[in-house]
Amino acid sequence: MNPDLSRERAAASFNPETITYVLDGSPERTRRRREIENLVTSDPEFQHEDPNFLSRSERYELAIKKSALMVQKMRQHGISDPEEIYWFKSFVHQGRPEPLDLHLGMFLPTLLNQATPEQQDRFFMPAWNLEIIGTYAQTEMGHGTHLRGLETTATYDPSTQEFILNSPTVSSLKWWPGGLGKTSNHAVVLAQLYTQGECKGLHAFIVPIRHMSTHEPLPGVTVGDIGPKFGYDETDNGFLKFDKFRIPRENMLMKYAQVEQDGKYVKPLSDKLTYGTMVFIRSMIVGDSALCLSRACTIAVRYSAVRHQSEIRAGEPEPQILDFQTQQYKLFPLLATAYAFQFVGSYMSQTYHRITGDIQQGNLSELPELHALSAGLKAFTTWVASYGIEECRMACGGHGYSCSSGIPDIYVTFTPACTYEGENTVMMLQTARFLFKS
């Protein structure tokens, strides 16, 4: 053990374990989280070369291999609690994205929340067993956060009782969804629904895009990878184009809104029912803000205790960088922020789970405020965390720029959270609308 770090730990006025229990919520959850982490770190099948040494294609292949292993191992270990699944997944992929992210995080939950029992019978088990691998295709090349601007259409043909999916312009191509390029054979597609000559707004459809056995794209579907990005090398963010592609009427998710065989539209009880998924995703992102900023702070603070540099008193050995007030002023407010966001993340998660019960009983009264608050906090925390991670990187001097620091990977993997799931300024204005109405 580095002597500087030993001295630091001996000088602390508290036992870190007590705060770990606060962050986890209880000693029992700390024990269980560590137990699940050990299942991964002690498993030789999960060990591999540092991804920083791999090409993009190799990183994608490694992620696919680990995802496949992850699904099998989770079943072997009997891990089914959603939070434990999240832990296991993040230990396997070490905070990096993976091609099954949207299958597990969006496709399956959408089936659970928006599919009828009949549709669940048809799609859920094949999706659970990965015969169906799905993604969630909402964003388009030319449209995104403003959902009413999406161009993809789904027109109902009563003569054949089918929906015709079409990408009317090049800007309407679905663009960005993770796992769409090479991995998925199905997608939940968000499209403007037309029936009996009227547009009924955005609805969700389960759409096959690749042949189940050969994995070749189906006729009328053009699908592929959108190309290299700042990060997210492990994920095949993809594009998807429909040329009058037909799907059965029963592939429209009809728990809330329906289209009957003759084309008659039955509208949902409330347009706020899809708020729940958005609130869930945004509270997860708030948690990610805390997680990534905490990791960057861990690296920067420990290295600042190890690294000696310059001079405070002439003639004396180089002091630890952490003894410089300027270094403390860079890092300690960020450390305080990381703790603040950890508590915000757990508050959002607890509040969402509390309100989910109310939603299922049809009580949507608290949903508008949580929907607005989650949008604002998603924007607020991701902006601050993204800036803070870069501050931590620079606080490590030249070595912060080396991939050996780990911080470049944390930054490129986290910073898109400022734009995906709703661009931050738009999110702030969405919350402002609620504050104005309040």
Partner: protein
């Protein structure tokens, strides 16, 4: 804001807007007065963040409404004031984060842990004020003389946190694998491991890279 003005009782994180209808939030409060008596009192600091948020929300909403009264279309009035609206929302979120941090402290039972987390909470709160002094001064929540006190207090808190900084990051409980690098290793043996890490770089698979014979050697012979 609109609902509060019409007398509706609000709940949740926006309940402070109920004060708007009773005019306890003024757009330009009396200069020189200060809401915060003791800059170490987290309770009054949370109140200051709340008043700051309310003050910015009232100011932004009044701008929108005055444009509406001047006949501007709703969308144009909204767009023309969206910078103020975003700042107001950021202040609201900042208040929520500070409030949740302070609330969390009441759940911490271990005395030593509570002491250091309270220090972090105070640092987060005062640092946030020091980065947004204009709002707090304009809203009359702080007196100018207090800004210097806050800046000094922040520096004092850095000294308190210094001996606890490594333990505070240890408490996050991330393994070296999760940190994804060697710089933040738990054992601090950075330089040895950085050297080992570099030796495994793909470029080091051969002592002489193929490009030397392919391009440099031929070039040297021509020059």
């Amino acid at each position: 804001y609109t609902a509060a003005l019409s007398g509706e009782r609000l709940g949740g994180m926006v309940s402070y807007l109920n004060d708007v209808s009773s005019q306890r939030v003024q757009a330009q409060p009396l200069a020189g007065q200060s809401l915060v008596m003791d800059i170490n009192d987290l309770g009054s600091l949370v109140e200051a963040y709340k008043q700051r948020a309310a003050w910015l929300i009232v100011a932004a909403c009044k701008n929108v409404q005055s444009d509406l009264k001047r006949g501007k279309r709703k969308e144009d009035a909204w767009n023309k004031n969206s910078v103020d609206l975003v700042q107001a929302t950021e202040a609201h979120c900042h208040y929520v984060v500070v409030k949740l941090f302070v609330d969390k402290l009441s759940e911490v039972l271990d005395v030593a842990a509570l002491r250091i987390l309270s220090t972090l909470c105070l640092l987060y709160t005062l640092h946030g004020i020091s980065r947004n002094t204009g709002d707090f001064l304009q809203a009359g929540l702080l007196a100018p003389v207090q800004l210097e006190q806050i800046q000094q207090r922040i520096k004092d808190l850095l000294v308190v946190i210094r001996p606890n900084a490594v333990a505070l990051v240890d408490a996050f409980d991330y393994t070296d694998t999760q940190l994804g690098g060697v710089l933040g290793r738990y054992d601090g043996n950075v330089y040895e491991n950085m050297f080992e890490w570099a030796k495994k770089s793909p470029l080091n698979k051969t002592q002489v890279h193929a490009s030397f014979h392919k391009y440099l050697k031929p070039l040297q012979s021509k020059l």
